[in-house]
C-alpha cells in the first residue's frame, strides 16, 4: 500500500493545481486524475489568459501592416520565438522555426534534408521505437530518393542496440531518433548518439516531442542538426510546434512551403527567399498559439525544468514500485526511474488495454491505450497494444494511488 500523504520534494503539486482550471472538474462524479500527458498536457490559466488577451486586445496579422495592433502582435510573436530559443538553448533566434507541431516539423525536415543531402543508395537510419511521425516521413522520403531505410534494433529495456547502431550508421546520411520514447519511456543519451552519427558523417534529427516537456534541453550541447517538438505536450496550445535547425543547415536547404511572408522579392521568372527563419514560415502563422507557447515556456521556466524532471522521476520510481506488486501487470521499458520518463506503458494479463482504460475512466482516471502510433515497436514487443499512464508536474502521489486503486477495480470486473 502506498503511504498516504506523501508529497513531492521537487514541486508543490497542490499549489500548481490551482493554476489548471480543468483539474477542478469531475469525471463520472470522481476527481479528474489526468494521466494522459504524453498524448497532450493540460493548460494553466496563464496560457489560456494569454490567448484571450491576444484575441481581445491586439489580434492582428504580423510582419505586414504598420498599425499599432500589428506592431504589438509582431512583437509578441517574435518575443515568443526568443523565449523558445532560450528554452532549448539555441545559439540564435533565427534558428527557431514555428510549425504546426512535431509531425509537421519532422515532415519538413525529411523532405528538405533528403532532397538536398540524400542520393540513390545512400542510407537513412531511424530506430525501432519511433513514433509514426518520425518513421513514415523518412521511410517515404527514402523511397522517393531510392535510398536505403535502416531501422536500429531496440533492446528489452528500450535502449538502442549499439552494435547494430554502429553498423547501420556506417555511410548513413541522416540519423533520426526520439530523445524520449512515447511508449517505453526510455530516455536516450542524445548527445552521445549525435556524436556517433556525426563521426559517420550523418546529419542528426531529434524528435523532442516527449523530452522537451519533461527535462532541460540544450541543443548546442547536444549538437544535433535539427530538433522538433510540440507546444501542446508542454502546457501550450495545440497547433503549434518548433523545428530548430542549425543556421548553416537551414540556409542550405530549400523552403518547405511557398507563399506569402517567406519571400524577399518575387519576379516573373525568379523569387528570392526571405531571411531565416521566415523563409520557412509561409502564410499567416498561428499567431495566438505561438504567443501562447511563449506563455507556457514562461510557466515551465518558473517551475524549473530540472525540478519538473526531479518530480517526475520521484513519482515514476514510486509508480514502478507499486506496479511491480501486481503479479499480473507487465511494465515495459527501463526498470530504473533515472533512465526513463514518467510515461509508463503496461499490460494487465488477459485484459485488453482498452478495457483497462475504460474501467479506469469510470474511476475518473484518464490513461491512454492503444498502439501509441508506434506499430513497429508493438510488433517488436509482441503485443497489439498497451495501456500507458503518463505523469506531469501537476500529478502527485494521490494520482498514483488512484491509478493503483483503479487497477484493482479492473481485476475485480474481469476476474
Amino acid at each position: 500500500m502506498l503511504e498516504t500523504g506523501l508529497v513531492s520534494k521537487a514541486i508543490d503539486v497542490e499549489e500548481i493545481r490551482k493554476d489548471f482550471p480543468i483539474l477542478k472538474r469531475k469525471v463520472h462524479d470522481k476527481r479528474l486524475v489526468y494521466l494522459d500527458n504524453a498524448a497532450t498536457s493540460q493548460k494553466p490559466k496563464q496560457v489560456i489568459d494569454t490567448l484571450i488577451d491576444y484575441y481581445s486586445n491586439y489580434n492582428s496579422n504580423i510582419h505586414r501592416s504598420v498599425h499599432q495592433l500589428a506592431e504589438e502582435a509582431t512583437q509578441a510573436f517574435e518575443a515568443a520565438r526568443e523565449k523558445t530559443r532560450a528554452f532549448i538553448n539555441a545559439s540564435k533566434t533565427d534558428e527557431v522555426i514555428f510549425t504546426q507541431g512535431t509531425t509537421e516539423g519532422l515532415n519538413f525536415a525529411a523532405s528538405s534534408l533528403v532532397s538536398k543531402y540524400v542520393k540513390k543508395t545512400d542510407s537513412i537510419v531511424v530506430t525501432e521505437m519511433e513514433h509514426h511521425s518520425n518513421f513514415v516521413p523518412w521511410q517515404q522520403a527514402a523511397k522517393r530518393a531510392g535510398a536505403y531505410f535502416e531501422i536500429v534494433s531496440v533492446d528489452d529495456e528500450g535502449f538502442l542496440d549499439f552494435s547494430d547502431l554502429d553498423n547501420k550508421l556506417k555511410g548513413a546520411k541522416i540519423f533520426a531518433f526520439s530523445e524520449s520514447s512515447n511508449v517505453l519511456g526510455s530516455n536516450l543519451d542524445a548527445k552521445e548518439l549525435t556524436k556517433r552519427a556525426h563521426e559517420n558523417g550523418a546529419l542528426v534529427v531529434v524528435d523532442g516531442a516527449q523530452s522537451a516537456p519533461h527535462m532541460p534541453v540544450d541543443v548546442q550541447n547536444m549538437d544535433c542538426d535539427m530538433f522538433a517538438f510540440s507546444s501542446h505536450k508542454m502546457l501550450g496550445p495545440t497547433g503549434v510546434g518548433c523545428l530548430y535547425g542549425k543556421r548553416d543547415l537551414l540556409a542550405s536547404i530549400p523552403p518547405f512551403l511557398y507563399g506569402g511572408d517567406m519571400i524577399k522579392e518575387v519576379h516573373r521568372k525568379e523569387t528570392n527567399w526571405n531571411d531565416l527563419p521566415w523563409k520557412f514560415e509561409a502564410g499567416t502563422s498561428n499567431i495566438a498559439d505561438v504567443i501562447g507557447l511563449g506563455s507556457a515556456i514562461d510557466y515551465l521556466k518558473r517551475m524549473g525544468m530540472s525540478n519538473i524532471r526531479r518530480h517526475e522521476t520521484e513519482i515514476c520510481r514510486a509508480a514502478l514500485e507499486e506496479l511491480a506488486k501486481f503479479p499480473d501487470v507487465e511494465v515495459y521499458g527501463p526498470k530504473v526511474a533515472e533512465n526513463r520518463s514518467a510515461a509508463i506503458s503496461f499490460n494487465v494479463a488477459k485484459i485488453h488495454p482498452h478495457d483497462v482504460a475504460s474501467i479506469l475512466d469510470e474511476e475518473g482516471v484518464a490513461i491512454r491505450s492503444g498502439h501509441h502510433c508506434a506499430q513497429v515497436l508493438m510488433e517488436r514487443l509482441g503485443v497489439s497494444a498497451t495501456a500507458r499512464a503518463s505523469f506531469y508536474l501537476y500529478n502527485g502521489y494521490d494520482d498514483l494511488e488512484a491509478l493503483i486503486e483503479g487497477l484493482k477495480k479492473v481485476r475485480q470486473v474481469f476476474q
Binding site: 485488453h352 482498452h354 475504460s358 491505450s369 497489439s384 477495480k409 470486473v413
Partner: protein, 140 residues
C-alpha cells in the same frame, strides 16, 4: 459490481465466446482491423441458397469488440443473406446491452458488423456489391 459499460453480457461473451474459431472450406473469409486501437476481427462464412448457414469469428482486441463479434454471429447465423445484409447497428448495440457507447468505444463494438457485411458483399460479388458506408456501419 461491474463498471458501467461492462455489462454481464459483454463479460460473459468475452470469457466464453460462442462461434469462435474457423470453418472448414468457408465460402468467404474476411478480416478488418480498427486502426485506432488495433482490434482485429476475422470472419468466415458458409452459405446455402439464400441463407447464411454458418459463421465463425476469430480475433484479438478488447472485450467489447470480441463480445460484439460473438453476439453478432449468433444474431445472423441461419438468417437469410438479406437479413444479415440489412442488419442495423442499433440491434447489435441493443444486444450488447450498450446502446449508448461513446464515439470512441462504438468503433470497437461495430467492427464486427463491418466485417460481417464485407463478407456478405464479397459473397454477393458483382459490380453492385460495393457496400455503402451505412452498410459498413460507418464505424470510422
Amino acid at each position: 459490481m461491474s463498471a458501467d459499460i461492462y455489462k454481464e453480457i459483454i463479460l460473459d461473451y468475452y470469457k466464453n465466446p460462442r462461434n469462435k474459431g474457423t470453418l472448414e472450406s468457408p465460402d468467404v473469409s474476411v478480416r478488418d482491423s480498427n486502426p485506432l486501437c488495433g482490434d482485429v476481427i476475422e470472419m468466415q462464412m458458409k452459405f446455402e441458397g439464400d441463407k447464411l448457414r454458418e459463421i465463425k469469428f476469430n480475433g484479438d482486441g478488447c472485450a467489447i469488440s470480441q463480445a460484439s463479434a460473438s453476439i453478432l454471429t449468433e444474431m445472423v447465423s441461419g438468417k437469410t443473406i438479406e437479413e444479415a445484409r440489412s442488419l442495423d447497428k442499433s440491434a447489435l448495440l441493443e444486444n450488447l446491452g450498450s446502446p449508448n457507447l461513446g464515439p470512441v468505444r462504438i468503433k470497437c463494438a461495430l467492427l464486427s458488423l463491418k466485417v460481417m457485411k464485407m463478407g456478405i458483399y464479397q459473397h454477393l460479388g458483382g459490380s453492385d456489391a460495393t457496400p455503402s458506408p451505412e452498410d459498413l456501419a460507418s464505424s470510422r
